[in-house]
Amino acid sequence: MSNIPTDLRYTRDHEWAKREGGNVRVGITHYAQEQLGDVVFVELPKAGAPAAQRQSFGVVESVKAVSDLYAPVSGKVVEVNAELGKTPELVNQDPYGRGWMIVIKPSNAAEWDQLLTAKQYEEFLAQGGH
């Protein structure tokens, strides 16, 4: 079964969210990168851009498909993983670590509680994952 850290929250679009102080770090899950196959390109917003929950903040392209990336929470993008420009394979190699994508400064604290827990995400995957 997929690798699903218990200290993170998840979306039904297979992003993970991690609380860091007042901010939320975002990436895609181990399951997502496995389904995508080798990631060849990641398109991310610029720092300062707005993010809206369940709206696209970027695009990930793999050898199989091009997929939108959806923001787990609304707010402002305060940090972007520039390393992915040259080394998109980090998304495959270390999806929860060096393959992170953006950091959002949330504007609506209540949205955090709408995200799936690790257990809920695992159940969601068990049901087919879409």
């Binding site: 389904q35 080798d38 060849v40 390109f41 392209e61 050898v63 498909a65 997929s67 394979e89 879409h130």
Partner: protein, 490 residues
Amino acid sequence: MPYDNAKTYDKLIFELSSPGRVGYSLPAPDVPVEPARAQVPAAYLRREPVELPEVSELDVVRHYSRLSQMNYGLDTHFYPLGSCTMKYNPKINEDMARLAGFGRLHPLAPDALAQGALRLMHELAGMLAEISGMDTVSLQPAAGAQGELAGVLMIKAYHEANREKRTKVLVPDSAHGTNPASTAVAGYEVIEVKSDANGEVDLGDLARHLGPDVAAFMITVPNTLGNFEPRIVEIIEMCHARGVQVYMDGANLNAVLGITRPGDLGFDVCHFNLHKTFTTPHGGGGPGAGPVGIKAHLEPFLPAPVVVKDGDRYALDWKRPKSIGKLQAFWGNFGMHVRAYTYIRTMGPDGLRAVSENAVLNANYIMKRLESHFDVAAPGPCMHECVLSARRQKRLGVTAMDIAKRLLDLGFYAPSTYFPLIVEEALMIEPTETESKETLDAFCDAMIQIAKEAETNPEVIRSAPVTTPVRRLDQTRAAREPNLRWRPGA
């Protein structure tokens, strides 16, 4: 090993180049010659001569003849690429397209000297309108995606003419990638509508998204899982009730010729892929042709010019002030119009209906023969294509991509893989009506052999292909470090 031309030839034409060798001899000019420097501004002149291969006529003929022997196409092999309708292209189409009156006609010839060509375009548009139940058809779009763009731009012009501000277009999550792309190019925001467990549109999700800001809903019928949307009339009524235009992606029209018509179902716009349903060449990049059909309320917005008939004369009508404009050079890929016209006239109405009946029969035959060996993405019966999932094989370490590569070794082109996106390890098989039962059986035998190999000898699948001129390519590196052209000395 015997010498095998098709496998051992790997030259670029630049590598055949020999300084000073030429393949032409031109007579002395009989007009004054002026150097380019005297006629072209310096900024546009090259600083060094262009590097062209210096080869003889025989070098050129041999080079391309040898490369042509490496071709893999419908004239040599079965090509079950799902959603692409790789059916046989009858050779009579080629004969007709080469008639001097068509093949050698200049696109800028005055209308009076092009009456035959204009009549053919007018009649082809009429026949496509009759087949689809639409009111008018424009032949101008150069391919399916441009047909989509033309259709969406007409919808946009229609809403704007009604002074309505609508900013979104809905597209199912099973859609061809061109749908969201064309929609975005037209300036709309794309909203994805979920499919239910059978791959059909989730009506609840559709209803949630149908707001006053939605311009159109774009849907492929039959859908990309090879199923006819059973509630399509209800879906179209839901959309129309909210002022939303409904666009049918006609990529899968081959399943319903003479059986149902998009216009009768209520669609406002529908494009055709002449290079799929109507047997114009498809492999090798086309050129394609993507005519677009519309209902009468969109007629003012058609791409200009439109071929019109006045008495027994035909003309190009440019006086269309509300037109979305001209989409490409000249009037569409005319050679493809000739071929599609020929095909429709050759088949006739009963023949076209038989096309779809046999396409559906063939797909169901394959699905039935393979359903115990692979998982089926959606319960059958299917329409003209069936979608399998290799999820069972993936647990044995064999992916859909591996299966596709192994099929090459067994003498078949691979089905579409990893599409539609909502199916895990998808293998989308579209046999078309032009294949015999013997070919379908040979293909199914190969698929069953691979399913067994996945259990007994997965390595033979994972290491495929071994019989092709090149082995498995590194598609990841090709995408990450694209190397797109030859450079001198590289």
